[in-house]
Amino acid sequence: MLKYFIKRILSALVTIFFIITITFFLMKAIPGDPFASEKMPNPEVRAAMMAKYGLDKPLLTQYVIYLGNFIRGDFGVSYTKAGITVNKVIGDGFPYSLAIGIYASLVVVFAGILFGAICALRQNKLIDRIFMVLATIGATIPSFVLATGFLFLFSKTLGLVPAFGVDSAAGYIGPVLVIGAFPLSFITRLTRTSLLEVQQQDYIRTARSKGISEFKVIYKHAMRNALLPVVTYIGPMVASIVTGSFVIEKVFGIPGVGSLFTTSIVNRDYPLIMGITVFFAILLVISVLIVDIVYVLVDPRIKLD
């Protein structure tokens, strides 16, 4: 177990190193620079600004400097929030994305598995059809439409939730539902399909023939196998949900980190682009690692090495 763990961490470090390198050079290859949108910087001012941020040095030197700072845990200072470090920008924004992400993940996992199981057990009955229609809607309508529709109905028309922000508990309802719509639909379908498939297998028939209760058959025997594909999906899903969503944070006016991904690129805020990419990469690597471990524990057929 320990050996496996060390191996995985080493490979994660290599992955992150490659992500840093590729992102760094790709980012510098996009045309435009961070000061392009400043009004009228004359050539002298421009040169002084480039020098101030070390952008006048050769690319390779900049890369080496970045790596050196990175190893010391210094992600640099954001260009678009003058004087504020990237660590602070991410540190202040992440709790918002994380809170929404956790609530959404809990809703998605528990409701998704529950709905999926209900559908599988009541296959082709009315309730199954209703959930499947809802799942199709949730998976196909883009989140900005859902978000705007939600605000129009529940905020502007009914006045039940605030128009923006997460200052109150009610403010979380919209973002959680909208960000969860797609994964919820997906998990519902996945659980349903998987459970239906497992129920056809011999060992389930054996269990039934032994005369144990239907509840036990489903809960103890069928569910465990049926949830394997769901567990695989949960890891990357949680990582992507807790890192926030550009659209949802923008529409609901939430100061999370999801919107930073897009805005930092638009603004050519190099330190923030790097910081946010590496941060997301680390989160993803960790969550995949956890999934792999859970996998082994759920399915004895899989070995760690």
Binding site: G32, K39, G165, I234, V251, I290
Partner: protein, 589 residues
């Protein structure tokens, strides 16, 4: 097996909840740290209970739109930061809707310099009761420090030119040829500030009202970039002071009890939001949660204009236009430029495409700019509407004349005319305007137009090169004087049109020279130093040269569009250069 089972379930749960461990600042579930301060109505008095007494202790909620990069007066270049600075700081003078007013300075004298050139030395006398928010007196030295700071080479402020172009010795200091002591701004004593200009500048007080000229406390600003974001270090001398800054979320500004004019400031404070999504911003206003904002969806503006009395569209100091690259074919031919300009129906763009109250333009400088007489620089008809100028009818296309010009350029009915590249950037109405004009040029002139869209950061770089033909762009005022527009096309200015009569070190690859630019340069330089009617004449002359050569093709004069919830607040709109100065606002609801 059983134990393993439980472990598996626990781990699965940890997958969702346990990721909190990766969170840099949260203690476990992220909720506590994510709980922002109380909602707007209570935000002003988080520690003391609300009192029933008037005036209202409620903070006014204003959506700035996007988060300002900085509100350090000498570093800022953006409008967003400008709004914040104008509310936090008080300059020597202040730009109001009634003109320039004395502010922290109670008076000034204008005199001659040592060489006897009149109107070059300003001596300001500061009021005795001017205090910083921490109670220390505002001194002339705070202004001297700030103005020298703005042009210091270490600061590399993009707006250094607002100091270096005017104050004697400032350019030398900035470029390394001189020293800090050579900058001719000096605190003669605690309350007297003297500044010597390179030449008489009629609009110097307009500059002094601008954010770059706001005072700055050396003990705070010298603590490192980002000082202004820390309420403990952001010591201010204006109507408000910084109470809280939440990255990506909002600013709280509270009334500065040490402000010299505090008795006339009625707002208890301002909650300034950073909501970038215009639909959310509008919904926030319509739900009564936002009282002031100009972040509104373009497609909703016609409806607001028609239905909502809280919506206003005011003439702004700015113009949107097509800029021609004067060095490339086919637009280096004046007849081509004329043909393109005449073939546009500006009324249709304003009334059918924009529908936001903008005014069709037949010239470069917007009607809101004034001459020394106080009258508009534009000649307006009896009802205040813009008229035909430079052969351009703001209310219709002149198709026959346009065709004749194109024929004269050698392209009868557009035959043989190359496909035109029209460059614009992604933002608001830009695409719809470009598409409308594309259609007009194709229909009226038989000219094929290829639309090229770039994101703004790339667009701004592209127009700095020779690699474009026509760019859809515009300019808005930094200060309330036509020079803010005219300085754009001088041979040593930004001059992205590459319209220069002599080489300029700042743009070494602009080697195709355009002799007509010399007359423009001369007129602008003369206008810079002259006053009164003479100056008005030079300003008009400069614009004439620009427009007679059709370096730009005007489209429309800009407007400021905004909603102010008059059921809850009252106030005078924006300042002439479009800033929100909330010391004149109050809560009424």
């Amino acid at each position: 097996m059983k134990r393993k089972n439980c472990l598996a379930l626990l781990l699965a749960a940890a997958l969702t909840v346990g990721l909190a461990a990766c969170a840099p600042t949260t203690g476990g579930n992220g909720d506590a740290a994510a709980t922002p301060p109380p909602a707007a109505p209570d935000a002003g008095t988080p520690t003391t209970p609300a009192e029933p007494a008037a005036p209202s202790t409620d903070y006014m909620v204003w959506n700035i739109g996007s988060e300002p990069k900085t509100w350090d007066p000498q570093l800022n270049t953006e409008g967003m930061g400008g709004h914040v600075i104008i509310n936090l700081y008080d300059g020597l003078v202040r730009d109001t809707n009634d003109g320039i007013k004395m502010a922290t300075a109670e008076s000034y004298e204008l005199s001659a310099n040592a060489e006897g050139v009149e109107n070059t030395v300003y001596t300001f006398t500061l009021r005795d009761d001017a205090l910083w928010s921490d109670g220390q007196p505002v001194t002339a030295g705070d202004y001297e420090y700030a103005w020298k700071r703005a042009c210091s080479p270490e600061m590399a402020s993009p707006y250094a030119f607002l100091i270096t172009d005017y104050i004697k010795g400032a350019y030398e200091y900035f470029s390394g040829e001189g020293t800090r002591d050579d900058v001719a701004v000096k605190a003669l004593d605690e309350k007297t500030l003297q500044v010597e200009l390179k030449q008489p500048t009629a609009y110097f007080l307009n500059l002094v009202s601008f954010f770059t000229y706001m005072p700055c406390r050396e003990d705070m600003a010298s603590t490192g970039e980002g000082w202004e974001k820390d309420p403990a270090k952001c010591v201010t001398n204006g109507a408000f002071t910084l109470e809280e800054y939440k990255i990506g979320s909002h600013l709280l500004l509270k009334k500065n009890e040490n402000f010299w004019n505090k008795d006339n400031v009625e707002l208890a404070g301002i909650r300034a939001l950073f909501i970038t999504d215009s639909t959310t911003s509008l919904q926030g206003y319509e739900a009564g949660e936002i009282q002031v904002t100009s972040t509104l969806p373009g497609e909703e503006i016609p409806r607001l204009l028609a239905e909502d009395p809280n919506f206003t569209s005011d003439p702004a100091l700015g113009t949107t236009y097509y800029m021609f690259n004067m060095d490339v074919e086919p637009v280096n031919d004046i007849n081509v430029r004329k043909a393109l300009s005449l073939a546009i129906d500006r009324k249709l763009i304003v009334e059918q495409v924009l529908r936001n109250g903008a005014v069709p333009a037949a010239a470069f400088i917007a009607p809101s700019f004034k001459l020394s007489t106080g009258e508009s620089l534009r000649s307006l008809d009896g009802s205040g509407r813009v008229q035909e100028e430079y052969g351009i009818d703001p209310y219709a296309a002149r198709v026959e004349e346009a065709k004749a010009c194109l024929a004269e350029a050698g392209y009868p009915n557009g035959e043989g005319f190359p496909t035109l590249d029209l460059l614009y950037y992604e933002s608001g109405y830009q695409a719809s305007v470009a598409e409308a004009v594309q259609q007009m040029w194709e229909q009226n002139l038989g000219v094929k137009v290829n639309l090229k869209v770039q994101e703004y950061a790339v667009f701004a770089n592209t127009v700095g090169t020779n690699d474009w033909t026509i760019a859809q762009t515009g300019w808005s005022a930094d200060y309330n004087d036509p020079m803010t527009m005219l300085s754009l096309f001088t041979s040593t200015g930004l001059n992205e049109a590459r319209w220069r009569w002599k080489p300029y070190a700042g743009c070494p690859d602009d080697t195709t020279l355009n002799p007509e630019n010399e007359a423009y340069d001369n007129a602008v330089n003369l206008a810079g130093a002259a006053t009164g009617a003479d100056r008005d004449g030079y300003l008009i002359e400069a614009e004439d040269v620009l427009m007679d050569n059709m370096v730009i093709c005007p489209l429309f004069y800009a407007t400021y569009t905004q909603v102010i919830d008059y059921g809850k607040v009252s106030g005078p709109g924006r300042t002439p250069i479009g800033q929100w100065d909330f010391q004149y606002y109050k809560m009424v609801g």
